[in-house]
Amino acid sequence: MAKKTRNIYKRLVFVVCLMPLAWLIFAILLDTIYQTQLMSVDPVQKFDRELGDWALIFIILSLSIRPIAELIKKKELIIYRKIFGLFGFFYVCLHLIAYIGLNLQFNMAGLLDDISKRNYITIGIIGFGLLIPMAATSSKKVIKYIGGRLWKKIHSLIYIISLLGVFHFFMMTRADFTRPTVYLIIILILLLYRLATKSKILGQRPLLRK
């Protein structure tokens, strides 16, 4: 594919990734003006849940890019792994901001209480913490600087992070576990695929070795 077309696609994907946020903002404004209930009468909860959900969706999308690229033999797709991954991080940040700002209303004692007492929040915060080194080492310059081997190690954290994210979702759910179950199954399939391919090509590609 020509570089120009690829760039157009990249930009298009970028805009599409912003759509969930655009929708949330549009919905809350519409609710404000017309008193519709797109974000329900409890938008605090709705914002929190929606942003968390999108964070997981983007992380899963990012995880699935490599298998898809390998299966349909389109190597160039791999650039989207980074875009989706960074958007996953972006929505995790918004999710965290919504939780601290809108839900806790900056009650920092409440935040410490939540992190120390409530396992699902502890897990969520750990997941967020692990995402930071990944996001920080996503640019080409940094990859060159730290070397592919270390980069690989850092970025294999995504499997742990996605599992933490989905457990976080499971543990906060009061009823109806359909969504977290679906997410977990997808992640496990992707993880198994990765393990299977990794063992097969071991030795051929030294970068994948520890």
């Binding site: 809350i28 409890d42 914002f47 699902y120």
Partner: protein
């Protein structure tokens, strides 16, 4: 006639609600009385009874919260009623499937009188009252709702429970066709709730058949539901078909599902957090949507939802952190 019971938490409604809202509320009730027959006929639970007669006798109680009422739209579009689905808007969307007529409530167990009764048989002998109560959901949000109902005690007395009746248990209808959420096996239907007999006899406990001067909307538990305002919302069981007087503590739904999270008593208690979230504060849902609702300051949750004066004596000597 306005019968006023002066309570500590009482404030004149005109003082606490903006005048406009207050007037609208009265108009709401008035209009439902004037056009009673047409408005109330869809309910039809009081078969053969001019329904407006029953509703026009609402005794205005000053059991009031010091807060602004949640709008009718808010109350009817944000519900936990898993019989229709676990989403907050599922009940509003699917509860039209529920047929509330004919409807019978079976009274059974340790009482002199038992049997099946229509809603009007149950309610008619008692005087309808309007009770403005705070409703605190275990999920840390709350509303203020003007219920229409009768004291549970007035109904219980008529069935003359005997000395063995230590508890009262309630059951919701089971019918997958009318309640599509019951296709989920997450809950072992029917939904069951219960109270200790002295809790049930407390003047705050009511069986409600309406809100905002209107017949109970299906999504809020038509045709008849329990309201116990000092307990978390899930104790106030909806669409009741069975009431039994029993000797032992009933196995209530949420308590059975997650005993560590939901106790039998489930009294509103800011000092006892839910294992997964704090119960110290709550989001008051006014019915407003949009940015106003997004940035509404949280309010402190009160012990026994602010009804300690009425019900704290029920738990004298009990450690409510242990018996949560």
């Amino acid at each position: 006639m306005l019968i006023k019971f002066s309570k500590k938490y009482d404030t004149k409604p005109s003082e606490i609600t903006s005048e406009n809202n207050f007037l609208t509320r009265r108009r709401f009730i008035q209009s439902s009385l004037i056009s009673g027959a047409s408005l109330l006929s869809p309910l039809g639970v009081f078969a053969g009874q001019p329904t407006n007669n029953i509703f026009s006798n609402i005794k205005k109680m000053s059991f009031g919260a010091n807060e602004k009422l949640t709008s009718f739209k808010g109350i009817t579009n944000y519900n936990n009623f898993y019989e229709f689905g676990t989403g907050k808007t599922d009940p509003a969307q699917y509860s039209h499937l529920l047929k509330t007529e004919p409807w019978t409530v079976e009274i059974m167990g340790m009482a002199k009188k038992t049997g099946k009764f229509s809603i009007s048989d149950l309610i008619k002998p008692s005087e309808l009252e309007e009770r403005i109560y705070r409703l605190r959901c275990v999920e840390a949000w709350s509303m203020v709702i003007p219920w229409v109902g009768v004291p549970l005690s007035s109904i219980i007395k008529r069935f003359e429970p005997n000395s063995k009746a230590k508890y009262i248990a309630f059951e919701t209808l089971v019918d997958k066709k009318q309640m599509p959420g019951q296709n989920s096996k997450f809950i072992d239907w029917p939904y069951i709730e219960g109270l200790r007999m002295d809790e049930a006899m407390n003047p705050l406990s009511i069986l409600a058949i309406g809100l905002y001067g209107k017949p109970m909307p299906n999504q809020n538990g038509a045709p008849i539901r329990l309201v116990v305002p000092w307990k978390y919302g899930f104790k106030s069981i909806k669409s009741i078909v069975k009431i039994s007087f029993v000797e032992n503590e009933p196995k209530t739904t949420w308590n059975q599902l997650a005993p560590r999270e939901y106790g039998f008593y489930s009294n509103v208690n800011p000092n006892r957090d839910h294992p997964r979230w704090s119960q110290k504060e709550e989001r008051r849902i006014t019915g407003e949507s949009g940015l106003g609702a997004l940035f509404t300051p949280k309010i402190k949750t009160e012990y026994l939802n602010g009804y300690a004066e009425e019900v704290a004596h029920l738990y004298k000597g009990m450690d409510l952190k242990q018996f949560f």
